[in-house]
């Protein structure tokens, strides 16, 4: 800690900054009204022992053109999905985002608003939240959805905590075919709460029903599966939820790719009790991993244990429909240490973007995008399976991702593809040592047949 008295040296103002409107004359006048001789006097309550005596050592301030140039230079050093075909997925998906989505969600009226504490002047945000909740219920087949969580991984972890509270049980089974990062987050969240996490190994890329059946007991609060799972393979959601329910456990469905629900039976139709997942594919860009959109939906009877914000419809004093944040007695600002979660700020803007995205696509558009993903991935899967030395790791049905066993280490493969301006799939060895030759390939509607053919030709050349 530094202690000297020459604090004044740091106070000399050289620049009138464009984000700070107060002029020197206005400062003087305001100081007079406050009744202090200088701004320094306003900080006299800070003990001298902890006051800075020298300016912060930061790089010099940049003007706007310099800032844009600097950031542009950093952005230019990243190989992104707009510059070359990208076959990475694994919980973050490169989908087409219609122009309307961010033209609307990016409007300052939404972008620069706070959480809607004053409902009468925040009907825009509140109603959009209600519409998002409604659409998410339609998509997932669930009764109620909240207004958003942080991301798919943390939403899944909060779902597990919710299941513990609902069942008063302390063990959670999770399939190893769930995204490894979701499992890591689950473990971080649940460890201090004394929840025992049991990982149930996948079998040939699918959750092992027999192993789940053997592991589930009357201690089990929930069974967590991902559908389609991390390997892109569809799970037997119905069978697994029956196994969970037979012992009074809940079934948590982690949905990392909600667009799959344009084709697939929704979790609400096969017995899921809580849906947690990642809403990034619904209108948000890749953004190097965030901001993303945590989705959470559940059954009506569990609504009072759901974490996070809920928007409800009501009426005003004139009988007109209006929207408010509701059932807030679940939340931290009322319940403090007894709240269902500590979540406060969430991902409201991305929920708005998701609502705009889903409304733009509508049922037909959603179906069409889902089909495009399915067809293109099926085409790529078949073509890669036909290349000598490459084989499809798991034979289960897939949506838009699949695991390939490669003849050379997938990391090397990616480096060679990169020289041909292709971003290859995800090498799985870092998460699954037994799949060191595993390569998770994702093909969304953004990939053209020409790009897929280029990938296939490159693989044929490499093998």
């Amino acid at each position: 800690m530094k202690t000297t008295n020459d604090a004044h040296v740091t106070l000399t103002r050289h620049v009138q900054h464009k984000y700070i409107p107060a002029t020197p004359a206005e400062r003087e006048e305001m100081l007079r009204v406050v009744g202090v001789p200088s701004v320094d006097a306003l900080f006299a309550d800070i003990p001298a022992a902890v006051r800075l005596t020298a300016p912060l050592r930061l790089p010099p301030a940049l003007s706007d053109p310099e800032a844009i140039a600097h950031l542009g230079e950093l952005a230019a050093r990243n190989a992104h999905a707009g510059a070359m075909p990208c076959f990475l997925g694994a919980g973050a998906y490169d989908h087409y985002v219609p122009s309307v989505v961010w033209a609307l969600a990016g409007r300052g009226e939404f972008l620069t608003a706070y959480t809607p504490y004053q409902a009468e002047m925040m009907q825009g945000e509140l109603q959009a939240g209600y519409e998002y909740q409604s659409m998410l219920c339609e998509l997932t087949g669930m009764d109620v959805a909240n207004a958003s969580m942080y991301d798919g991984a943390s939403a899944t972890a909060e779902a597990a905590v919710m299941a513990k509270d609902l069942t008063k049980r302390d063990e959670v089974l999770i399939s190893t075919a769930v995204h490894p990062e979701y499992r890591q987050v689950l473990s971080t969240y649940t460890r201090p709460l004394g929840i025992k996490i049991v990982e149930v190994p996948h079998r040939n890329g699918r959750t092992d029903s027999a192993a789940i059946g053997a592991a589930v007991s009357d201690r089990t609060a929930a069974v967590i599966i991902q559908h389609p799972n991390f390997f892109g393979v569809l799970e037997d959601g119905k069978g697994l939820s029956e196994l969970a329910h037979a012992r009074g456990s809940l079934l948590i469905a982690a949905i990392a790719e909600p667009l799959s629900l344009g084709i697939l039976r929704p979790p609400g139709a096969w017995g899921a009790d809580i849906v947690a997942g990642e809403g990034q594919p619904l209108g948000s860009h890749l953004n190097f991993g965030g901001p993303y959109l945590g989705m959470m939906a559940t059954r009506q009877e569990f609504v009072r244990r759901i974490p996070g914000r809920l928007v409800g419809a009501t009426v005003d004093t004139k009988g007109r429909r209006g929207f408010v944040l509701t059932l807030q007695t679940r939340e931290q600002h009322i319940r403090r240490e007894k709240a269902s979660s500590n979540i406060c700020t969430n991902e409201a803007l991305l929920a708005l973007a998701a609502a705009i995205y889903m409304a733009s696509l509508g049922p037909q558009g959603l179906r069409k995008v889902a089909e495009l993903n399915l067809y293109k991935a099926a085409y790529a899967r078949e073509a890669i399976a036909g290349i000598k030395g490459f084989r499809i790791a798991f034979d289960g049905p897939t949506f838009h991702e699949f695991v390939v066993r490669t003849p050379i280490p997938p990391e090397d493969l990616n480096r060679r593809l990169r020289r041909k301006d292709i971003l290859g799939g995800l090498p799985l060895g870092r998460f699954y040592p037994e799949l060191a030759d595993g390569w998770l390939v994702c093909v969304t509607e953004q990939r053209t047949r020409e790009q897929i053919d280029r990938l296939v030709a490159a693989l044929e050349e490499i093998r």
Partner: protein, 486 residues
């Protein structure tokens, strides 16, 4: 829906209408049931709205007009630091090299993004006085959980089992909720007559069973904790850790550093102090800074620099693990980095000096009309009590806040902190001009007059908003959480 209701988007649709355009498949389109088992297929399409693109544009544009934002007007929402969000930040965050970058892009192909994260860590470390910083948490409360879990892991690594976390009675609700989520029992310590945490009460509560004190400084009364040096000695003296809720960091940039005050962990709300837009309730970004002894416990991965190359390091066996997928709300890191690079050291100090000057100015010009329970020089915000208006005219703080909306301002934060009756918490921020502050002051004074002369006008407020006061009891008793055709 009645004729006077603003429509929800479902009500605008017509069967068969579409609002997006996609190509037909350029690969063979096989029948669905040849690609997927029949029992996996959805029977009905989800009942999403069927609207045209213009329907969507009009609807959400009109909704935006039914919202209030910093771009439109003054937002003195205490504890939330609703400062101007620069447009430049939106432009740079939308660069495809950032926005279309996949999180699993190999590090050698994401050097620009990793350098930005690394650079942001360096500048925030300097600003905060902390040694290492993680950007994984998505919000302030998420940062709190990360910080408390690191403290927990640190005690575990020393074989110590502590069971309690202390929070002052003025704390944000997230603090006790976080402590509970991290498996701790919460002990509340009262505030003293000057609005500081009561040092004697802290001394009594602090023993070897306490893992941490979670403190906000300046606190939620907008007051600097005058006994911070003593508080630090008490907590560390009994082996505890000091956690700073950095929600109010905007008051002290370049003036004092939490790291120098002795805090072991702090979170910074990048969506407050470092002006990433709040988006109507997120995305935020809760950067968490720690001192060296806690660095081994940071979430995975961290960005390291080797020579002139940047890499993600996940080989950290003592880490608490992951707190969300990937690396955090990167888009907001771009914005916060752009902000700090635009401001520089002098600019950031001006931010805090001006934020504090503005708050004291508003306080000075309103203090004759509103009760001030803690009469001190404030920092970036201050808290009035609406008790005089309540007792004398029967007009509550809620009424006055609602009336504020009629004057075209967002209301201050109300009924928080909990220790102030009828609390009105005002935070002007540094980006507001004196002219705006004067208009707000005039409105507050007018409302005080109205409370006296025409209380019914204030009781019935707001009058000029898209809807009038909403029935919150009905919303909670008969929850209507999704649209259904009527």
């Amino acid at each position: 829906m009645s004729a006077q209701d603003f429509p929800v988007i479902f009500e605008l649709g017509a069967p068969g209408r579409v609002g997006a355009s996609y190509p037909d498949p350029d690969v063979p389109a096989k029948p669905l049931d040849r690609l997927l088992p029949a029992d996996q297929l959805r029977e009905d399409l989800p009942a999403l709205p069927e609207v045209s693109e213009l329907d969507v544009v009009r609807h959400y544009t009109r909704l935006s007009h039914r919202n209030f934002s910093i771009d439109e007007g003054f937002y003195p929402l205490g504890s939330c630091t609703m400062k101007y969000n620069p447009k430049l930040h939106e432009e740079v965050a939308a660069l495809p090299g950032f926005s279309r970058l996949h999180p699993y892009t190999p590090a050698e192909d994401a050097q620009g993004a990793l350098e930005l994260i690394w650079g942001l860590e360096r500048v925030l470390a300097e600003i905060s006085g902390m040694d290492r910083i993680t950007f994984q948490p998505a919000a302030g409360a998420h940062g709190e959980l990360t910080g408390i879990l690191m403290i927990r892991a640190w005690f575990d690594s020393r074989g110590e089992r502590r069971t309690k976390v202390i929070v002052p009675d003025s704390a944000h609700g997230t603090n006790p909720a976080t402590a509970a989520m991290a498996g701790y029992q919460v002990v509340t310590v009262k505030s003293d007559a000057r609005g500081n945490m009561d040092v004697r009460a802290l001394r009594e509560a602090m023993d070897e069973s306490v893992a941490a004190l979670m403190l906000t400084n300046p606190n939620t009364l907008g007051l600097f904790e005058e006994h911070i040096v003593e508080v630090e000695e008490i907590v560390h003296g009994r082996g505890g850790q000091l956690y700073l809720d950095g929600a109010n960091f905007n008051a002290v940039l370049g003036i004092t550093r939490p790291g120098d005050q002795g805090f072991d962990v702090m979170h910074m709300n990048l969506h407050k102090t470092f002006t990433t837009p709040h988006g109507g309730g997120g995305p935020g970004a809760g950067a968490v800074g720690v001192k060296t002894h806690l660095a081994p416990f940071l979430p995975l991965p961290v960005v390291e620099k080797d020579g002139d190359r940047f890499r993600l390091d996940a080989d950290r066996p003592r880490s608490i693990g992951k707190i969300r997928a990937f690396y955090g709300n990167f888009g907001n890191l771009v914005r916060a980095y752009a902000y700090i690079r635009s401001m520089g050291a002098d600019g950031l100090r001006q931010v805090s000096e001006t934020a504090v000057l503005n708050a004291n100015y508003v306080l000075a010009r309103l203090r004759d009309r509103f009760d001030l329970p803690y009469d001190r020089v404030c920092k970036h915000e201050f808290v009035f009590a609406g008790t005089r208006q309540k007792k004398q005219y029967g007009v509550s703080t809620r009424d006055m806040a609602k009336r504020m909306l009629d004057y075209g301002f967002h209301a201050p934060t109300i009924y928080f902190p909990l220790i102030v009756e009828e609390a009105i918490m005002i935070e002007p921020t540094e980006t507001e001009s004196k002219r705006t502050l004067d208009e707000f002051i005039d409105a507050m004074r007018a409302i005080d007059r109205e409370a006296q002369e025409n209380p019914d006008l204030v009781h019935g407020a707001p009058h000029n908003t898209p809807v009038t006061r909403l029935d919150e009891v009905r919303a909670a008793r008969q929850p209507d959480l999704r649209w259904r055709p009527r």
